[in-house]
Symmetry: D2
Subunit: 150 residues, 4 copies
């Protein structure tokens, strides 16, 4: 397992802003997902294995894999945005490289190209079993920054 303690951290303000937004995503808590790391331009989201997130063979459902990948990328972009802005997914593409099995899956969203309007992220999802990580999905995502209307 990666040691996140030595990774670069975001400010407490950004950390709180992202955790608060995540906590308002009904789907994430319904699936049982949680944020595992928030760094500048990089966010990890973990989803433990349970019957409620599977497809017909008992693997993680591609929809669950994609859901945490999409959120990880969105929040990775969000770490680089000023307060009072939000991020929306424009589109993403994901390849499901191998059956998603493990104690849990971990999605890593990483900003590849930040921008004032559009940001592009890389999405990776790993199956984690007994501390071993295996890449099970890989994708690319386009996001747009929007100003929050109050």
């Amino acid at each position: 397992m990666e040691d996140h303690t030595q990774q670069e951290q975001v400010s407490l303000e950004v950390h709180k802003r992202i955790q608060d937004s995540f906590d308002r995503q009904g789907l994430m808590s319904h699936l049982g997902a949680r944020i595992a790391h928030i760094g500048p331009g990089r966010v990890h989201i973990v989803l433990p294995s349970r019957p409620e997130v599977t497809q017909q063979h008992g693997y993680f459902h591609a929809g669950a894999t994609s859901a945490i990948a999409d959120s990880a990328g969105g929040y990775a972009a969000h770490t680089l945005f000023p307060e009072g802005t939000e991020v929306l997914t424009v589109e993403y593409k994901i390849n499901l490289l191998a059956p998603a099995v493990g104690d849990r899956i971990e999605a890593v969203g990483t900003v590849l190209k930040p921008g004032r309007t559009l940001t592009v992220c890389q999405l990776e999802v790993f199956g984690v079993q007994n501390g071993q990580r295996k890449l099970v999905a890989n994708g690319q995502q386009t996001l747009i920054r929007v100003t929050v209307e109050r």
Copy 2:
């Protein structure tokens, strides 16, 4: 709202095979999704609105939208396959065109190009409010047919 009663139907055997597979997808029942139509090369999946499937603004989460779109495409391909075969998603790409709001969303997977090994589907997701349908997501998916090992 579409009248599915006049649409072409699959055989009872195919209908049962797909409904049984769907019922084994823990994620679909956990989200509250259900199959609304099974035709040859076309499957509709409906997801009613509830807090458990939202993102931070109360809209349907892109992960929920994608999950039912992915399943709709997979089962649309599955209707064209012989017994003893399964379908796996190779990859998909989805554009989120508008905020996914409504009483429910409905994903429509349609086979665009069937094949012995690879099948390509179109994915559409509509927000449905008071019987009005609006396209909220559009995508394209590649699937692979695999023989079930027993």
Copy 3:
């Protein structure tokens, strides 16, 4: 073959703007491509078969197929934009459904969702042989509108 004469036409001003822009694309004339139709939200581009646009088996190269698909989508979006604006491709995804063979290939770009900032297009490419059309590629494209700086 489609009869374009009965299709809806754009204004002469829009037609001229798009044809002029197309004529400045060195790649399109180098490949031998030409615009076959300009309608509101829809543009067709034709590429005749010649050795200079093939891959190693003598089929149209995926790069040539994609190039005219990308341009067709871009100009389809452009037909809906006001003067003094330009369009840039943000990203696209394309499935190569069948070997691209024929006397020529024809790309059809169609606006699926217009927008002030982002526009999403559907991309289709047909192989045309003796007047028979066959879908050889299908894709989806995201474009951004930019104001021309003078």
Copy 4:
């Protein structure tokens, strides 16, 4: 500029097989592209700047950028395949991150996940100006291995 001399090389047989296939691609020579490196699971293709590969603003056309990216990924997969097999592009998705300017552009195709049937590659394209490299496009590609019929 990267020093390819210290990178891992493929066998002479694989090198020849790929160079021969590339030389049969009419489009690549028509554009003026050439292979710059062939390593196991990685191929670089370079395209010098010239008016014949531009779009309307004088930048490299997205179609040219995509064409060499697609070929680089295809040949990267090909380096891992046994003799008597060929590779076809199933689909790819590419984000155009920045205007593609420079003396030349260089596409790097890298195998992300090899497979008996399907192989997934990462695609990167750099603009190179006075030896400075800048990422101008990033993509992801699915390929299928086929046996050559003789």
